[in-house]
């Protein structure tokens, strides 16, 4: 089991662990941000470069530092490796540069973007970016296109993280979309606007870190901080049936997969659960989703950690059977 030191904190990790995974095991502020890496998608990561770190000591055997900053999501730890993330001013500066590049052609119109509030790029820019853009040229824009009945693609907002391509490759059984063209005119698209029609295609929406892929059944119906996330489940033959319901009053505004604290989907869900089951009676409630305190989504709401809210939540959601929410199953 190799031992790795990240920003002075040592941890022993299994063979084959990447620096980013090791940092997540340690947790806290030393975890590098990641825009394209997705732990459940194979070969993801390495593209956005936000997670770059400095390896100041290669390993016990070969203590030479690595000559360039490396993508922590794709670099495997070696025994005795020493990594600098937030303790290295170079890394902090380089990351600032990467954020600037990501935002360069990204529209700065968060107030009218449907992803605002749950956008990873927004968070990233807030934490690591400059307050002002230095780009004085026209930004690249694309027409919005519908890829399939349920998904809207707005390529203007895309940061080319390739996550949706990997979902289509690894979660659905047929990929009909991919990256076309190259350089700064590269775009995610379907071949001749071929519809994305697959049981699991909706997961592309969940993995999209920005507002490029959005749910057409929810788009512009509510700001994300005005809906309450609730964990719920149902018996589903195609997927785990474990979801997060985004409730507006007693109505289900949106269904999404459950996500961990790094914004990654825990269980893929099928399109039937996501798009068709928009009635609270379809679901059994498990309780409110734990949303991090700093997130705008938990503003004006609640937290599980606050005991004052517990009785209220219990009365509402501990007795779904009595209220026969599940009667039609």
């Amino acid at each position: 089991m190799p031992k790795v030191t990240i920003d002075g904190q040592m941890i022993e990790v299994p063979d084959g662990t990447t620096i980013l995974q090791a940092a997540r095991m340690i947790g806290g502020p030393i975890v590098p941000p990641a825009m394209c890496y997705y732990s459940s998608l194979k070969t993801s990561g390495g593209y956005c470069r936000t997670c770059i770190v400095k390896v100041s000591k290669g390993s016990e055997k070969d203590p030479r530092p690595m000559p360039k900053p490396v993508a922590s999501c794709r670099t495997t730890v070696m025994d005795g490796m020493e990594v600098q993330n937030i303790t290295s001013p170079e890394v902090v500066e380089a990351r600032k540069g990467v954020v600037e590049f990501l935002l360069l052609n990204h529209p700065l119109d968060c107030p009218i973007c449907d992803q605002a509030g749950e956008c990873h790029l927004q968070d990233l820019a807030y934490e690591h970016g400059l307050s002002k853009t230095r780009y004085e040229f026209e930004r690249r824009t694309f027409e919005k296109i519908d890829i399939g009945e349920k998904i809207k693609l707005h390529m203007t907002r895309c940061i080319l993280c390739y996550r949706c391509v990997k979902v289509a490759d690894q979660v659905t059984n047929k990929r009909v979309h991919g990256v076309m063209n190259r350089g700064d005119v590269a775009e995610i698209s379907t071949y001749i606007q071929h519809a994305v029609d697959n049981d699991f295609s909706g997961n592309m929406i969940d993995v999209c870190p920005v507002g490029a892929l959005t749910d057409r059944t929810f788009r512009f119906q509510s700001r994300i901080w005005n809906v309450n996330p609730m964990d719920a489940h149902r018996d589903c033959k195609t997927c785990s049936g474990k979801v997060t319901l985004w409730m507006k009053g007693n109505d289900v505004a949106r269904v999404s997969a459950r996500k961990d604290k790094y914004g990654e989907v825990i269980d893929w869900i099928c399109n039937d659960c996501r798009f068709e089951k928009k009635d609270a009676h379809d679901w059994q409630m498990d309780g409110p989703t734990n949303i991090e305190r700093h997130s705008v989504i938990s503003q004006n709401h609640y937290s599980l950690k606050e005991p004052a809210h517990k009785p209220l939540l219990n009365t509402l959601y501990t007795a779904p059977a009595d209220r026969q929410l599940n009667s039609n199953n």
Binding site: Y47, F101, R182, G183, D184, A186
Partner: protein, 447 residues
């Protein structure tokens, strides 16, 4: 006259055909490798020769070959990188056009040394007619028993294929080349794993430049030790230089490494001096991505020693006062050349060729091009120069593949050595040389 190894029969008419090539000692290295030496012994000769990769990075070839993983039961591949796309470099084309059998002979000898039974020549789409020449030569080699089953009765089989790319600079990066060869989008892979462990179709693979593979032929024929005597220091052997720009005799020259730069530019044997009797202003010594150097630094190092055409001498002084031998694309500029315009042209190229996979290169190359375009056309600001410097620093070393570095280095070097020229463009837009272009772009009628 310097020693010629690759182009020694360049003057022979019909050297591209099998009969003439064979008559001039062709395929002797295959005979020697298979009959007198073993595969390991060939690798040993390459190591002794000190041959360094001719594609640009200058990595020792023998070492690269010895890194090749050899798990039992797994095929190994040799891939020849003929995707020569670096602006200012055209030596591989010349070699393949005129000496196709030299490359094929090198491929056979190298494949034998590496134990590869299938090898590929990946050639860029723009060289389609060259692929025809190679294919014809391969046909001749098959017909004469140099390729196919049981070569020279040794029981060694080799099949050689030419694959034409679709024309992308990025496919010259070895992992992007492998992706493209596999029929996928030519995006560079994230390393590790390196191709020597998992390359083409996940199998151990060696990717070498055309000139590197061609150089294997004289090394095996004359012996590694003998080859190492040519050249200077760790820069052994000969190198093809593609000389272009404002010189009297542009073209491909085979030089013995260690020739002084001054001699290369001014002697009648090579470039023949600056065209129209003008003064030398700057040189890009190794293809468009290496740092540009002003005349006083390219002729002499910062210590006052004459600069030589070798890996070490050209990189003397680091990037502050030195450059790189790179792929040998030697671009000479006279006193009338606009460095800003030249840089814009290079940057435009990298913007066009960025694959778009990782963000610094995808966004940064376009940004630099736009700023340079603005400066060039009289709308620049003094702060733009610092901005350019900052952007290149944020691209360099932060990308998946070296294209980001290749785009950043020329910008850094041009500002480092010719900052005043950028300032001139900003302060006196009237000094713009290409006034006509400026007016046309802005829909103005010329005053």
């Amino acid at each position: 006259m310097g020693k010629k190894l690759l182009l020694q029969h360049d003057h022979v008419p019909g050297i591209h055909s099998y009969e003439v090539y064979r008559k001039h000692g062709g395929y002797a290295s295959v005979e020697k490798a298979m009959k007198q030496l073993s595969a390991e012994a060939v690798v040993e000769e390459i190591k002794k020769s000190g041959l360094r990769g001719r594609g640009g990075a200058g990595f020792p070839t023998g070492m690269k070959w010895s890194f090749l993983a050899k798990p039992p039961g797994v095929p190994r591949y040799l891939v020849c990188n003929a995707d020569e796309s670096e602006p200012g470099t055209f030596k591989d084309r010349y070699l393949m056009e005129r000496h196709p059998h030299l490359l094929i002979e090198g491929m056979i000898t190298s494949s034998f040394a590496l134990g590869a039974n299938t090898s590929y020549i990946y050639i860029r789409g723009e060289y389609f007619y060259v692929s025809r020449i190679l294919e014809k030569a391969i046909e001749e080699a098959y017909a004469n028993g140099w390729l196919g089953k049981n070569i020279l009765g040794t029981g060694y089989d080799l099949d050689l294929y030419v694959q034409v790319g679709a024309g992308a600079y990025i496919c010259g990066e070895e992992t992007a080349l492998l992706e493209s060869l596999e029929g996928k989008r030519g995006n560079p892979r994230i390393k590790p794993p390196f191709p020597a462990i998992a390359g083409l179709y996940g199998c151990p693979t060696v990717v070498n430049n055309v000139e590197t593979i061609a150089a294997v032929v004289p090394i095996v024929t004359m012996g590694g030790d003998e080859y190492a005597k040519i050249g200077i220091g760790k820069s052994t052997g000969t190198k093809l230089i593609s000389a272009s720009g404002h010189i009297n005799k542009p073209g491909v020259y085979e030089i013995e490494l260690g020739v002084p730069v001054e001699e290369f530019i001014y002697s009648e044997e090579y470039c023949g001096g600056i065209k129209n009797g003008k003064q030398l202003k700057a040189v890009v010594a190794g293809g468009s991505s290496v740092p540009i150097l002003p005349a006083h630094l390219i002729l002499k190092t910062v210590n006052g020693e004459p600069r030589l055409m070798s890996y070490e001498s050209l990189s003397d002084g680091g990037f502050a006062t030195g450059t790189m031998l790179g792929s040998g694309g030697f671009i000479v500029m006279d006193e009338d050349t606009s460095i800003v315009k030249n840089l814009w042209n290079f940057t435009r190229f990298y913007h066009h060729e960025s694959c778009g996979q990782c963000s610094p290169c995808r966004e940064g190359t376009g940004w630099m091009e736009k700023i340079l375009h603005r400066i060039l056309h009289g709308h620049g600001k003094i702060s733009d120069i610092d901005l350019l410097w900052d952007i290149q620093g944020k691209i360099e070393g932060k990308t998946i593949c070296p294209l980001g570095d290749a785009a950043a280095w020329p910008v850094a070097a041009a500002i480092r050595h010719f900052r005043s020229e950028f300032e001139e463009y900003v302060k006196n837009p009237g000094s713009i040389q290409d006034v006509k272009h400026y007016y046309r772009l802005n829909n103005l009628t010329e005053a």
